[in-house]
Amino acid sequence: MASTYTLISSQVLASSASSVTFSAIPATYTDLVVRASARSDFAGNDEIFVIRYNSDSAANYSFRYLQVNGSTAGSGAFSNRTTEWALYTNGNSATSNTFGNLEMYIPNYTSTSSRPYSSFGVGETNASSPAMIAVLAGLYQGTSAISSISFAPGNGTNWLSASSFYLYGISNA
C-alpha cells in the first residue's frame, strides 16, 4: 500500500496547446499517477489522449479497453502501435465549459522491462448526448525507464485553455 502521494509537477493551460509533456521525471518514486481534466478543440463529444513515453515513436505500445457509450458497451485491443492511448475526455461539442477526467496509474516506471499501465476516463457531457466512459489496460515495451510522458489529443489539434494535468509520485516506503 502506497504510503506517499506526492505532487511532482502540474500544468494548467493558460492558452491552447497541442501537447503537454512532463519531462525529467525524477526516478525516486515507485509508481506514477496522472490526473488530467481536459477538453480539446475536436468538433465532437469525445476525445482521446494520445500518449508517448520518452518521446518513443517505435511500435512499443499495446492496449485493451472496455467502454460504454450511453447504453452501448464495446471493447477493443491494439498491439505494437506507435502511441499509447487513454480514453476518454471531452471534445468541444460537449457541454460548454465542461472537462472530462482521466486517471492513469503507471507502476514500476523506472523498470527497463515492459511496463503496464491502467487508465480510467470519462467525458463530462451533461447534455442529451451520451457520455463516454472507458477503462483501459496498456503495456509499454520500451527498454528505458520512463522519464517523460506526453499527452496530445487524438481527434482534435489542441487541448483548450484551462485543461489541467497533474503528475504524482507514489512511494511504497
Binding site: L13, A17, S23, S57, T72, G74, T83, A152, G154
Partner: protein, 76 residues
C-alpha cells in the same frame, strides 16, 4: 497567439516550462494519430452496430418461436 500548434513541456526537475511550436514531424505525427483515432472510432461504431443488429435478429427469431417480449428480454 500563433496558428502553429504549440507544445508545452514541464521539466519536473527544474520546474521550467517551455512552450514551442510543433515541428513538421510532430504535426505529421499528430495527423497520423488523428487518422488512427478516426479509424478506431469507425471500427467501434461498426462493432456496436453489428452487435445491435445481431441482438435485434435474435429477438425477432425468439418472438417468432412464440416467446413474449418479457420472456425475450429475460434471456437476452
Amino acid at each position: 497567439m500563433t496558428d502553429t500548434p504549440q507544445a508545452v513541456e514541464v521539466n519536473c526537475t527544474t520546474g521550467e516550462v517551455t512552450t514551442r511550436p510543433l515541428t513538421a514531424d510532430e504535426i505529421a505525427a499528430q495527423a497520423v494519430a488523428a487518422q488512427a483515432a478516426a479509424d478506431q472510432a469507425a471500427a467501434q461504431e461498426a462493432q456496436d452496430k453489428a452487435k445491435a443488429d445481431a441482438k435485434a435478429s435474435a429477438m425477432a427469431k425468439l418472438a417468432a418461436l412464440g416467446l413474449s417480449a418479457d420472456e425475450v428480454a429475460a434471456i437476452l
